[in-house]
């Protein structure tokens, strides 16, 4: 047995098709190349949902703040973003789930350990508030009773939509981080920030594109801040992921990532350089940034699938944790039996 083999003198035999891999390094061992974890089953609605939630959430904040600042022109446009973003979100979710009733099941309980549960409530609150606030802002005044009720409802709804928009734009980072997908879970500290940046960029970009240039200053600034943050966080995240970040450079995730960066850079440059003067440039720049933010979500989404599919991404970091002494792993050999058993028994004392 050569040194490269496993500790007990065995190496994996070939799997289909005929790859006789007798001397696989230990961290690359797998069961016939099969994934250890399952890929998510989420449909394409989900990255769009991430995008829409970010857009809606940040737009609500932008709208409310613009209102406070007295920029009604911008606020009205931003409410459109909030309304569209938060309005689309449940539609996308229901489309993913298959039946409307299934969304209601989300509200059976509130679980802090489940970002999806928390997010569902956030979406419910945010969606309700943004709808009230947005409709109130966009619909012409009328003497109808429902319109008066809407006006009253919108008073608390505006700040509520703005406030709920913050978690709506960011919780999705936690949502995917709370899975066993290595490229997501190991990026749990960066993903919410990345999504926040994307939310800022897209909300700002949409508002910039819709708003007359004279009133769009805050939106442009927001878009640029978002773009800069997004462009900064992606390399930071990849750096922290180390080898695990590999999927971001491969296949669909890599393509979306490169596209996202290109679009974001181009869009932000256009916004920064020309949007102050040209409505067309603002529209084009906004569209580019929006597309960039969407692509970034797709890149993250695809990277998760890719990393779930390849057992190396699951096994290798776990092996490194064990090798580095950060954890003992889930296996106990008899060599360490005494100590391990003591630990096991102590831990077990409390159970059952």
């Amino acid at each position: 047995m050569t040194a490269a083999g496993s500790a007990n003198g065995h190496a994996r035999l070939g799997s289909f098709p005929a790859a006789v891999e007798r001397e696989a390094p230990r961290e690359a061992r797998s069961y016939h190349g099969q994934p250890v974890i399952k890929e998510p089953i989420w449909h394409p609605e989900i990255p769009w949902y991430f995008f829409a939630g970010g857009l809606g959430g940040a737009s609500a904040g932008l709208a409310w703040l613009a209102e406070l600042r007295g920029n009604e022109v911008l606020a009205r446009r931003a409410w459109i973003g909030a309304l569209v973003g938060t309005g689309m979100s449940p539609v996308l979710l229901i489309s993913d789930l298959g039946r409307p009733a299934r969304f209601l099941y989300m509200l059976r309980m509130f679980k802090v350990t489940s970002p999806m549960s928390v997010g569902s409530w956030v979406l419910a609150v945010s969606g309700g508030a943004a709808s009230a606030a947005g409709l109130d802002a966009l619909l012409p005044p009328a003497r109808r009773r429902w319109r008066r009720l809407l006006r009253v409802a919108a008073i608390p709804a505006r700040p509520a939509a703005a406030a709920a928009g913050l978690p709506l734009a960011t919780y999705t980072g936690a949502l995917i981080a709370q899975t066993a997908v290595p490229v997501w879970h190991e990026a749990r500290r960066e993903l919410p920030a990345l999504f926040a940046a994307g939310a800022a960029a897209s909300a700002g970009a949409l508002a910039s594109a819709l708003t007359p240039v004279a009133h769009a200053g805050p939106a442009r600034r927001l878009a640029l801040v978002g773009c800069v943050a997004e462009l900064a966080i992606v390399p930071l995240m990849e750096h922290r992921l180390g080898e695990l970040g590999e999927p971001y450079h491969r296949e669909a995730a890599g393509a979306y990532g490169r596209l996202a960066r290109g679009l974001t850079v181009a869009g932000s440059l256009l916004l920064a350089a020309r949007a102050e003067r040209s409505r067309a440039a603002a529209a084009a720049g906004g569209a580019l940034v929006l597309a960039g933010a969407a692509c970034e979500r797709w890149s993250v989404f695809k990277a998760g699938f890719q990393s779930a599919r390849d057992p190396r991404y699951t096994v290798a970091p776990q092996r490194r944790r064990i090798a580095g002494g950060r954890t003992r792993g889930a296996s106990r050999r008899v060599v360490a039996a005494g100590a391990a058993r003591a630990a096991g028994l102590a831990g077990r004392g409390g159970a059952s």
Partner: protein, 867 residues
């Protein structure tokens, strides 16, 4: 050996696993590394068909190192018996025993007997002359001895013609070096196995050998098992706890269908089927078929009780207890002979129950062509199997050789009930019968086999009612009165069991076979099963948990005979009746009670016969067996290291090459079993072997086998989604070396070719199959499971289409387990191109279908017995 127990008998294998947990060493001698090898302590790969050479090596190791259990061998086996002077061993005749009759292709066995016994063949041994394998083919109850003792013995075991010395000479050349050359087993491995066996045998320890169809499905299948018997008798492993030779049967209840047979040549309880020349005289039948001594000495009681069970009041002393009613067999009516007759248009109708010959029989193409020559065919099965569908879907139709329009066979398919839909018993390898209860009613038109048989008989009898024809008497006089129950008028299976158990004249149940009488006062449908309904209780339905009784578990089910769990268990005590050791104590003589006592089993001996009993001069039956002779079914009460009678191919196992083999016989000039049955006809061509010209066209060894996930020909597993998905496609297993040589790609397709046909399979390249160094060359193996066919949820070519029909004359079982073949990458040709493809192979190999089998190496013509 010859068994892949973990895969084919996983439920029984739990006991092997448990034994291993308790420290037993598990050794697996098998051509492939299987799931059994995976959990064995030692896997010894050997070339298919070389088992006798391997076991011969073990025997030689025992004898040349004096490792036998001498006291056991001296007292309990026929090692001390002196054999006739005229007997000659293959050592002397280069591969033949004395008595070979080349023109008939059979042996005259008169020189094989014990010295001092009659030189004449016992009357009625027609099968020994080759044509008929009737009476004693399934038992060794033919030899006639005065008062149960061999005439000439040498207790010192030194007489040059005593069995012990014959054995030594016979196996002297089976050295580790020779075994390595013949089997491809490294000599160290042989020594390892032999040494472990020896160390684990003797007074304190015992070893068991399990085999299955890996041994039986050879032209020397019976002799494989004989070789194991010699090992076990020499080591003292028979009749003792933890010992024995376990025949793992091919299906659930195959054992039961032999005990109460579906075979053509025996009656229930292994009573021979009478021949026409025995006339109508029952006494003559008994005279011809039963030795005077040993348990078969009471054959007349068994036979009369059987006749009384079947014909009741119509069986009287005046009409020989209806003995003339029994059918007579006039020749070989075994499965393959029947199919060959069918092929020749000499069989008009065929009823197939629980069998799928179109997939499961050797040379399945020949089987299907035979079916096409029938007038009518009845198939009873749970699903429409290939045998029922052959007329519209078969490889022959696909190849354009025939078409539904050309096949005149009228096929009736009758749906059958599954075992969960009917009551009955399963008999497993150690003769244990276990009752199973009906869980649900069979759906729609499905009926049990019992229902079918009973109502068929009832209707036939109704049609014959009032007939005055003498020929109809056997049917009309039958006791055919089983009560029926339920909506479908299902006959009560327990009443059948009651008939099998038997009754006394007063109607009470017989409790053991010793109670049977030859005067017509008892009935018994199968003497070995007497007692299964003891005390009016279905003994086979007992299911007392193992934890609530002794480890012998006598109250779980019921084992024939007399609920005896270990046969010949008298051998677990020494000649004086004391246990060989405390550790292996099982049955012993209790001197104070003057009875045989046991840990809980039924002592296999006359209960109060003391160990020092010596039979008087005129003793018969069991009275003729001495108190220290445990093997009571033999006329001498001894375990036969040497079989003086009962076998047609030799009294000692001898290594012969399989009929199709790429290598020569290194031990003898005679290449293959001289008496094997070959059928040289156009539908059954043979590959050239060894050094014959054209042999190199088929250079590889082909082995067929089964997988856990499927059952035999697939009728019960390829039709079940949960099983079908587990092994969805036919595949072949080849070594990386062979894959490289032939360009086979893992997961791709390969075509496997013999002169019979070619099939295609997915390729599984695996280290579990390896070439073997045999006779200084590398022999590659191709392994193919045989479960697939053209019906069911998962389909594929049938491996048995590749095999030739070549039989062991003793039992007419074909050599499924090894043949030669070629393998090439890619899928097989379709349609007429397939025939052309195979034809090209035949041309290259110089095979002319139908021409006689070529001469063996020694130059002797071997027409084959039935050729």
């Amino acid at each position: 050996m010859g068994s892949n127990m973990a895969e084919q008998h996983p439920v029984g294998f739990q006991w092997v696993v448990e034994a291993k947990e308790r420290g037993a060493t598990v050794m697996h001698v098998d051509p492939r590394y299987t799931r059994t090898s995976a959990v064995a302590d030692l896997h010894v790969p050997l070339r298919p068909g070389s088992d006798i050479a391997f076991l011969g090596g073990v025997i030689n190791y025992i004898l040349s190192n004096d490792r036998q259990f001498t006291e056991y061998v001296r007292h309990y086996t026929n090692a001390r018996v002196i054999i006739k002077d005229e007997f000659k061993d293959p050592e002397e005749l280069d591969g033949f025993f004395s008595g070979w009759v080349p023109e008939d292709g059979v042996y005259n066995v008169s020189t094989w007997g014990y010295a001092g016994t009659s030189g004449e063949l016992p009357a009625g041994k027609r099968e020994q002359t080759g044509d008929v394998s009737g009476d004693q083919a399934h038992g060794a109850h033919g030899m006639r001895l005065e008062h149960g003792e061999p005439p000439e013995e040498d207790w010192s075991l030194e007489h040059p013609n005593c069995v012990f010395q014959l054995l030594k000479r016979h196996f002297a050349r089976y050295t580790p070096e020779m075994v390595e050359q013949v089997c491809g087993v490294p000599r160290e491995k042989l020594l390892q196995v032999a040494e472990i066996l020896c160390r684990n045998s003797g007074r304190e320890r015992t070893s068991a050998i399990c085999y299955a169809v890996g041994w039986t499905q050879h032209t020397h299948g019976v002799q494989n098992i004989r070789a194991a018997s010699i090992v076990q008798l020499l080591l003292g492993n028979i009749g003792r706890p933890g010992g024995g030779i376990l025949a793992l049967r091919g299906h659930a209840n195959i054992q039961g269908s032999t005990d109460i047979p579906t075979l053509y040549d025996i009656l229930p309880g292994y009573i021979p089927m009478p021949h026409p020349d025995a006339g109508d005289d029952l006494d003559e039948f008994v005279e011809r078929n039963g030795p005077d001594t040993g348990a078969w000495g009471d054959l007349k009681s068994y036979a009369v009780s059987l006749l009384k069970a079947w014909w009741g009041d119509a069986a009287t002393p005046e009409n020989q207890f209806a003995f003339p009613y029994l059918p007579r067999i006039d020749g070989d009516h075994s499965h393959y002979q029947m199919m060959l007759r069918m092929l020749d248009g000499r069989t008009r109708g065929f009823v197939v129950i629980g069998q799928n010959p179109a997939v499961g029989s050797a040379n399945a193409g020949l089987q299907r062509r035979a079916l096409a020559n029938l007038e009518w065919l009845v198939v009873r099965d749970t699903n429409e199997i290939e045998t029922a569908a052959f007329w519209y879907d078969s490889p022959e139709i696909e190849a354009g050789e025939t078409s539904p329009e050309q096949i005149g066979t009228e096929v009736f398919f009758l749906p059958a009930a599954a075992h969960t839909e009917k009551d009955g018993t399963f008999t497993n390898t150690q003769r244990l019968l276990q009752w199973h209860f009906k869980a649900v009613e069979p759906p729609r038109d499905c009926r049990s086999d019992l229902w079918f048989t009973y109502h068929l008989g009832r209707r036939v009898r109704a049609r014959l009612a009032g007939s005055t024809e003498e020929r109809d008497r056997p049917l009309l006089d039958l006791t055919w009165d089983y009560p029926t129950q339920g909506p479908q008028d299902e006959p009560d299976a327990e009443t059948v069991m009651q008939e099998v158990n038997g009754r006394h004249a007063d109607g009470s149940f017989v409790s053991r076979y010793q109670e049977l009488r030859d005067d017509g006062s008892t009935t018994c449908g199968s003497w070995i099963h007497a007692g299964i309904y003891r005390d009016g209780e279905n003994q086979s339905a007992r299911k007392k948990p193992g934890g609530e009784q002794s480890w012998i578990a006598p109250e779980w089910g019921w084992a024939w005979p007399s609920n005896r769990r270990i046969l010949y268990n008298r051998a677990s005590a020494d000649p004086e009746g004391r246990p060989w050791s405390e550790r292996k104590k099982y049955v012993w003589w209790d001197a104070s009670e003057r009875r045989w006592a046991s840990l809980g089993d039924d002592p296999d001996f006359v209960p109060d016969r003391p160990p020092d009993y010596e039979p008087p001069e005129d003793a018969k039956a069991m009275d003729a067996i001495s108190g220290s002779s445990p093997f009571i079914l033999h006329p001498d009460g001894l375990g036969w290291l040497y079989a003086p009678t009962g076998l047609v191919d030799g009294p000692l196992p001898t290594h012969y090459e399989p009929h199709e083999s790429p290598v020569p016989n290194l031990l003898y000039a005679q290449r293959s079993v001289p008496t094997r049955q070959t059928f040289p006809r156009p539908e059954n061509p043979y590959n050239p072997s060894d050094v014959q010209p054209g042999a190199d066209v088929f250079p590889f060894v082909l082995a067929t086998y089964r997988l856990t996930e499927h059952h035999t020909a697939g009728g019960m597993s390829r039709t079940v989604p949960y099983l079908a998905e587990l092994q969805p496609e036919l595949f072949c297993e080849v070594s990386p070396a062979l894959a490289a040589e032939r360009g086979l790609e893992h997961g791709g397709w390969a075509t496997i070719v013999t002169t019979r046909t070619a099939i295609e399979a997915r390729v599984m390249v695996t280290d579990r199959v390896q070439p073997l160094k045999v006779a200084d060359r590398l022999v590659h193996q191709v392994g193919v499971p045989y479960h697939w066919g053209r019906k069911g949820l998962v389909k594929g070519d049938s491996a048995n289409d590749l095999l030739p029909l070549v039989l062991d004359l003793n039992v007419h079982i074909s050599e499924f387990k090894t043949a030669t073949c070629d393998i090439v990458a890619g899928r097989r040709p379709r349609g007429p191109a397939l025939s052309a493809f195979v034809e090209e192979y035949r041309r290259r190999a110089g095979v002319v279908p139908g021409e006689p089998v070529r001469e063996d190496r020694a130059g002797r013509a071997e027409g084959g017995a039935a050729g």
